[in-house]
Subunit: 132 residues, 3 copies
């Protein structure tokens, strides 16, 4: 598998990783298939949404505070219980399609690593299945 | 890949697309494998749940209002920030199993396109991997 | 496909199923590939998170009560509407990577069946795709 390294800079931050994924597709010469993305962390997820207006990601992060405010009350006392909650809600896996050598995203879609307990260096594991 | 077109009729509506998926399986003569469903939109997701009682989908939509009410306050000012939030919570991808030519859903499961900013014509991208 | 049977003991309980998945990988002699996990229920999901501190799972379950409290008000009157909501939020599918015969989980990650309407005997469907 391939591994993407992503440096996050804030405690909560949606970091766009679309270009890194496109580069992998080119390097691997994938023409048609599915890309599987797996985040090996428990306080950071992965999602697809809009980045054209950066306010969208801010609204998502802010809305999740209504379920999981940074300050508890929580039983997990490491100060990042909210990040664990948001990770399960966001999800740790994502797949994308490749068609004719291009990532088949919708017009407004980008891929975000959803950091909830940064700043940290995060990894995204990547596997490809080519269609035959 | 195949593309399903789905016409939604309300701003928020869970539209069942199970039959369309079953038709694709038949047409493609898939006997055993995995179907990957990808929604190329940022204000509409995909999920599996119950449709026998239509109140279930209504309860899900209503509950998500507690995190993302239609009227903000949001920073994204297009009037659909709530739909972006719900899309990330619901998810944009789903996979299903095919066993012996049949969709391997649980007894109460159907597949819903989760419209959060309709009415619109939506697309669902579909790829199949056959088991060998 | 393979089927895992999981006995849950509480109404809401995150049950670790990582060892059962590892056993399947060994039995099937998967060296490299992707494991697809599918939950055929509408009141029970699947997620990856931390189990080292059991409080993490409790915090996730408790936080989801803020969106979907066990007692409504709900339109679905079977007493488990909250479980349907949490299932869509958590998700019904998950994939994992196998590298060199080992499950490629992050250091703190385990796989949880997320029971929201137990106790019951639950199933998890499993399919493998080997990399060639």
């Amino acid at each position: 598998m391939e591994i993407l390294n992503v440096q996050t800079k804030e405690r909560e931050q949606y970091v766009e990783i679309t270009d890194e994924i496109k580069r992998l597709i080119k390097n691997k010469k994938i023409e048609n298939g599915v890309i599987f993305l797996y985040v090996p962390h428990t306080t950071c997820g992965i999602t697809v949404n809009e980045s054209y207006d950066p306010a969208v990601a801010e609204d998502i992060m802010h809305s999740l505070h209504l379920i999981a405010p940074p300050k508890g009350p929580y039983k997990h006392t490491e100060g990042n219980a909210d990040a664990h909650v948001k990770t399960t809600i966001t999800g740790s896996t994502l797949f994308l399609f490749v068609e004719n050598g291009e990532l088949a995203l919708g017009r407004w879609q980008v891929v975000f690593l959803a950091e909830y307990d940064g700043p940290r260096t995060r990894k995204v594991y990547v596997k490809f299945f080519k269609e035959v």
